[in-house]
Amino acid sequence: MLLKRIIPCLDVDKGRVVKGVQYADHVDAGDPVEVARMYDAQEADEITFLDITASHEERRTLFDVVSRTAETVFMPLTVGGGVRDVQDVRDLLNAGADKVSIMTASVQNPDLVADVAAKIGSANLVVAIDSRRRGSGALVADERSDATGEYAAARALAAGGDSPWEVATHGGRRRTGIDTVEWAARMAEAGAGEILLTSMDRDGTRAGYDLEQLRAVADRIPIPVIASGGGGSAEDLADALREGPDGGHAQAALAASIFHFKETTVGEVKRQLLRWGIPVRPPVGSDA
């Protein structure tokens, strides 16, 4: 049976982990490779690096981090952030990423996903969608009008969607008018191998994943869905992964803060999930 996955996510800026991380003193708090090593020891199912480096010149640092990680830990690694074209995807895979995630570029250039799928294949391609409930949040009106032209092609592609959510860019600050559920369906058709769905309404709140949105997307598309945004406890992860009328129906759950702040470990979360009947890989040292 294919097992559900628990995926710690690290934000990486100029080659260092950010987000006020606090680790035991034997681990260098800021080196992504050391953090990856810790999650490898906990037998996390995958790890995700999200590069938030603003300038293009500093991208080389990311490639270095990815290759050092791939040489050090023998676990699956997904890398996203700032991926613009087919060559970026290829370079990251060659550096040691197993999957590459595309976000903004797919919204600005809806043909990119089909292009990558044809040249490199779907299995290693994740399309990340930042999404929020329509009409929610303090969005600046002129940012909305700015977005109208830039995202016209993507919005047309997802026309006809009437879900309560829309795709957002720029860290969730800019709405695009692109229907989230319809957009996920179009990206799956174009050749995305997986959808990483982040609720920007929940991101950082630790109030639980947006289960209604997860369900709507997971039930609509025939590819795996990774839940992101709002995971604050083992219960939240279980809800995102659960089938049934109240579950999120996701195949994997991404979490940042609950692991970074060492409140719990991947192993402890998995022990709980197994107790609740969620099929995950048994944690290290378990006979389950």
Binding site: M1, F74, M75, L93, D98, A123, G193, I223, P224
Partner: protein, 216 residues
Amino acid sequence: MSSLPPTVAVIDYGAGNLRSVAKALERSGLRTRVTDDPARLRDADSIVLPGAGAFADATEGLRARGLDGAVRDHIGSGRPFLGLCLGLQLLFEESDEHRVTPGLGLLRGRVERFPDRDPDGTLLRVPHIGWNEVRFSGQHPMVDRLPDADTFYFVHGYRAVAADPKRVIGRTSYGGEFASAVAVDNVFAVQFHPEKSQSAGKRLLDAYRAWLEACL
């Protein structure tokens, strides 16, 4: 018999990351060389054909470097061969990925996309991504060195359908049962990624090393 550990050539044909493959082999005590030069495959004790990406891209990458012939020669010489992921699929006669593309044709059968539905009629999400169980059985020295079952990391939308069930020595359930490991004589190949499968991956690569040492 040499006292040095066996040397494994990891074939570089432009398809994905080879560093983790080489490092994982080294962790199991093997000496490695990553190369795209057919001449440097000839004196290796074994070769590893890794790969991620699209099938057609991979066959083109092999052919352009003259590596397809080198792989055939190596296998013909009777020395051990390990295929990983796409390296398993490439052994078969052809693949449906995007367009029908011929493979190396060393094993009979073809590479096809997973079905849209499970045998029970429920939706099957494709690609198959994540950790799943492989049950090993059959007549091959690798089977004797592996546990009955272990859990490995997969990421693929297509899988091999072997014409001869005797070649299938690892089976995994997804959309029915599929061939997650195949073997014949000196050829052993897996659909999953031992180099990404943490402790289970190490067990498999340790078994590979033991097999190589027994062959030398």
